[in-house]
Symmetry: C3
Subunit: 140 residues, 3 copies
């Protein structure tokens, strides 16, 4: 039993860019000595988020964006904007809601996901960003 | 320290069936050699979700359903429907929001939960399904 | 590789008290023999929640409260209230949505978080409470 913390980087676009990161996580598991266990996928930041979805254009380019815009619109005078005079209050709230990490099981180096289920990073910020994603593998 | 990935199956009903799975997770811990640690409870799929709630009829049969229906209604023309000509766009969005996994601590084989807190599976799909739930135990 | 389950306590205020618990979690990691791994931060209860946010007054005292009040208002006749004749239906729904735990990586005893990212406990109940937070450390 051992632990291994690996990273990969992403270049994202502003305003709810939804990026499929399943291959990057799977590649890290392929190259690890740990065969079975769990992997915690985490973004160090307060305006990004991790979840899963069926990665097809309808959900990724429309339905997720519309849903989040309905409950946490970008164009609103958040109190957060007064603190720093930036404009990413919606990004912080979306990250707070969806959260910055999720943990997944894997067996024989392979992620256990549904047929149509992919791991995604959601850029909630109002600017494109360089993101570092941490994959912490625990197992044997 | 070791890792053990166990599964159990569920038959669910369509449209926000909320199922108490605490006993199934606890039974897996009872029969494990691992005494203390964490267990990741995960559904492999993109229209299911895992969380916790006080499992009583008001919340389970009414309040959760009403809340989710308000923010992600089933009867809406999601773009996802155009991709596959199916009708479970709401199910995908609910699973994206609530997420497909949660991780819990346990001590002396016993889940650490509040007195009124149960682990639940939420069927977000518009069809009843057979679901496989993965319990990945890490500890010693 | 080993596992260690530690706790700390909080006194909270009613109605969406958002408390920065990063220092408490970091202190537990400082005093642990485990150098690298993951820590599962969990509240045993069904009306609390764990997430992360930039801990500044605009978000903490206004934007989070307003957002949650919009989608899950406190002053509403939830069916849950009929079961026990208490009034914390909103608290249960908020805890169900945000969830009671999140798992974070750490390296050389230090939490891996963004510069502006703090771990928070959210008191969703309509009463102030004494809360016990579980930090389950897995690593080596």
């Amino acid at each position: 039993m051992t632990v291994s913390i690996q990273t990969f980087e992403l270049r994202t676009k502003a305003y709810c860019d939804v990026i499929n990161i399943t291959n990057q996580v799977q590649n890290i598991l392929n190259n690890s000595d740990i065969k079975n266990g769990i992997v915690n996928v985490h973004v160090a930041g307060s305006t990004g988020a991790i979840s899963t979805v069926e990665y097809e254009p309808g959900l990724v380019n429309h339905d997720i964006k519309t849903f989040l815009e309905n409950i946490i619109p970008y164009d609103k005078n958040y109190e957060h904007h007064k603190t720093w005079h930036d404009y990413n209050g919606a990004g912080h709230l979306r990250s707070f809601l969806i959260k910055t990490s999720q943990t997944f099981p894997f067996k024989s180096h392979k992620l256990i996901l549904g047929t149509w289920q992919q791991i995604i990073f959601i850029e909630c910020d109002e600017k494109g960003r360089n993101r570092k994603i941490y994959c912490s593998i625990i197992g044997e």
